[in-house]
């Protein structure tokens, strides 16, 4: 019954109008799946943030992968989602249709095995993600180094969340943030605490199951309606203050922070992770991929900032669908437009 009481609180909220942001793509999806988004009254606007790694990757990164796909002796390997992301000329899937060498993997470590048996091919791995996937990539690079596998290289587009959140907080348009639970497992709650303090912001770290997400949303609406600044950790079973030290250690060993371009926000200082000098022979040229050419009319860059809703884009559901995406937010199963198009619709 307690759950229904909490749900009723959200449903009947009549306080000041709130604009809240869920930062993580998995939250975007979970909010629909649990029926929580559908409960919210008109006074609460929920916008999605830059929490889908594929959606915030600039086009020059895709273009570089496409270039590798057409380079004799090279084969590009990515997570499945990445194949369909449009570059400035074409996606990797289109490159493959035109004879380019691009393929997807289920687990990046599988590519190391493949590399051993195909010594005449250089495998270019597209290492995209946030703090949650960075430890995986660090481990793969470390393994490749330890085993002296020379024919794998990594084109990285790894990003860190606190800097993007700082940018969003500095714009002051959001009343409260649902912070990414999985990222916080790795980073700990501390970086979010600091952000909440610096920007006097309401922040809640939430989990992903219905009961956890419900608690987090109630907390977020309650505290932001009172304009209470601070961080509430509503995912304490797995999010500790200092995070996961083992994951942080391997990331520190392989990567260092540097500036990165995010679709929508432009260059954010210190928000990227790049392969350190010691392992640079594994870097396929990841720095300086800053150009971002967005197709005409596409609102992705405003959608990832919460400045526009998917339905406001002229291409949404018309020219731009998960089968034929125009913008990156329609590609990934974590992308706001893809999720909204598939899941929206209530009574």
């Amino acid at each position: 019954m307690r759950e229904k009481e909490l749900a009723a609180f959200l449903q009947n909220y009549k306080g000041r109008p709130l604009k809240l942001m869920e930062v993580c793509g998995t939250h975007t999806s979970a909010l629909y799946r649990t029926g929580l988004r559908q409960l919210l009254p008109e006074t609460v606007t929920l916008v999605s943030g830059p929490g889908c790694p594929v959606c915030v990757t600039p086009t020059s990164y895709i273009d570089k992968l496409v270039e590798y796909a057409f380079t004799p002796g090279c084969r590009v390997m990515t997570f499945g989602d990445m194949l369909a992301v449009p570059g400035s000329k074409m996606s990797l899937a289109e490159a493959r249709d035109q004879g380019g060498a691009a393929d997807f993997f289920y687990a990046p470590e599988d590519v190391l095995e493949k590399a051993k048996t195909h010594s005449d091919t250089t495998f270019i791995l597209a290492a995209v993600g946030f703090e949650t996937t960075a430890p995986v990539w660090a481990t793969v690079i470390k393994t490749a180094a330890d085993r002296q596998i020379k024919n794998v290289k990594f084109l990285t587009a790894l990003k860190t969340m606190p800097q993007a959140l700082a940018f969003l907080c500095s714009r002051g348009k959001i009343d409260g943030f649902l912070c990414p639970g999985h990222v916080a497992v790795i980073t700990g709650s501390e970086p979010f605490e600091q952000l909440a303090e610096t920007y006097s912001e309401t922040m809640v770290i939430g989990g992903f199951s219905q009961p956890l997400l419900l608690r987090a949303m109630v907390r977020l609406v309650l505290e932001s309606s009172r304009e209470q600044a601070g961080l509430w950790n509503e995912y304490p079973s797995v999010v500790k203050r200092s995070g996961n030290p083992a994951a942080q250690k391997i990331v520190d060993e392989i990567f260092e922070a540097g500036d990165a371009v995010w679709r929508g926000t432009g260059r954010l200082p210190g928000s990227g992770l790049y392969i350190k000098e010691k392992y640079k022979s594994f870097d396929a040229g990841s720095r300086g991929l800053n150009e971002d050419r967005i197709p005409p009319g596409c609102l992705c860059s405003r959608i990832v900032l919460g400045d526009a809703l998917p339905a406001q884009c002229p291409h949404f559901g018309k020219r731009c669908t998960p089968e034929h995406p125009v913008g990156a937010c329609m590609v990934s199963s974590e992308g706001t437009c893809c999720i909204t198009l598939r899941e929206s619709g209530t009574k």
């Binding site: 749900a7 559908q38 209530t346």
Partner: protein, 327 residues
């Protein structure tokens, strides 16, 4: 004995394999004649005909095996059309290196399942290809239904109740845990459901639609039915039957029982005023003990779930490949 290419060459070895394994287990007066094709007695009723292929990996799993699956799959497809299954064919593509004892176990399992379902395996074929000891099976099946029967995917009507005959996702979860080499108490629900369907039909209930909840799970099946019938299906989250084991596994692996497949569960749509009676009949059958009324058909389009929080959310069919080779 290991299966080799010569066992599929059509010569002496093929004959011996058929005689020792298939004929020994499947025997009946039609098959025993060993003609090029089975000559069947005259039917009374409308013939219903289907075919299905089975490629499951692993071949044996808790609660079943590829042989049992190959009979259940075709029998259940016939039952979904309100037909009484009568005869099956069974064709085998064997990979070299297969143990004849393994094949014998598969054949014995098919024979036992066919007997339970009351069908005869009356014709078949065997080929051997190079490989690693695997087997693929195709079964085709023929059954009959009364001329007046109108059970169809396109026959949902607003006002129908949606009945589920048991818990969701059991087969899918079992195959997945076997592949991941996890030890669990999970069992596949693989079963022939024709006797269960017959019991409901015999009770005089006007079944509008039946669909077995296989690959893609309830979400996909319900979406197909809603589209075919031009109606909307509302399911209730609180009523969806999911075992504790499947619930736990889904939680850990991030799966949704709504898109996980079964091999022994069905969705039935019946007029609301007959739903309780249908439920009572189902609960008395071997495979329908946990049947529930889990939703209704209304005007509109799509499939929606009334969440435990009281909101409606869209139920999406499985997208992408899901878990391959579960049947």
């Amino acid at each position: 004995m290991k299966i080799a290419l010569r066992h599929g060459a059509g010569g002496e070895e093929t004959s011996k394999l058929i005689h020792d394994i298939f004929a020994a287990h499947f025997q009946n007066e039609i098959l025993n004649k060993m003609e090029d094709a089975a000559v069947l007695p005259e039917f009374k009723g409308i013939p219903v005909f289907t075919s299905d292929s089975f490629v499951v990996e692993p071949l044996f799993f808790p609660g079943g095996d590829i042989g049992k699956l190959s009979v259940c799959g075709t029998v259940n497809d016939l039952a979904c059309m309100g037909a009484k299954p009568l005869y099956l064919t069974a064709s085998f593509i064997l990979e070299t290196g297969m143990d004849s004892e393994t094949l014998e176990k598969v054949a014995a399992s098919m024979a036992a399942t066919a007997e339970e379902a009351g069908v005869k395996i009356v014709a078949g074929d065997t080929k051997v290809v190079e490989g690693n000891g695997g087997v693929y099976i195709n079964t085709a099946g023929i059954g009959v239904r009364p001329a007046a029967c109108s059970i169809s995917a396109a026959n949902l009507k607003p006002g129908d109740a949606i009945i589920l005959t048991g818990t969701l996702g059991d087969h899918h979860a079992t195959i997945l845990t076997q592949r991941l080499q996890m030890e669990t108490s999970l069992q596949s629900d693989c079963a022939p459901l024709n006797n269960m369907v017959q019991a409901v039909l015999d009770a005089g209930i006007d079944i509008h639609t039946i669909r077995d909840i296989t690959r893609g799970g309830l979400a996909t099946v319900a979406a197909e039915l809603a589209e075919a019938s031009g109606c909307r299906i509302n399911l209730e989250e609180e009523k969806l039957p999911v075992s504790v084991a499947v619930q736990g596994l889904s939680g850990i692996l991030g799966l949704d029982p709504l898109t996980m497949g079964n091999e022994g569960k069905m969705l039935l749509a019946v007029p609301k005023d007959e739903a309780e009676k249908a439920l009572a009949v189902l609960k008395k059958t071997k495979y329908g003990k946990h049947a529930v009324i889990a939703g209704e058909v209304v005007e509109g389009t799509g499939v929606f779930l009334l969440t435990v929080l009281g909101s409606y959310r869209k139920v999406l069919p499985l997208r992408g490949e899901g878990l391959p080779r579960i049947c």
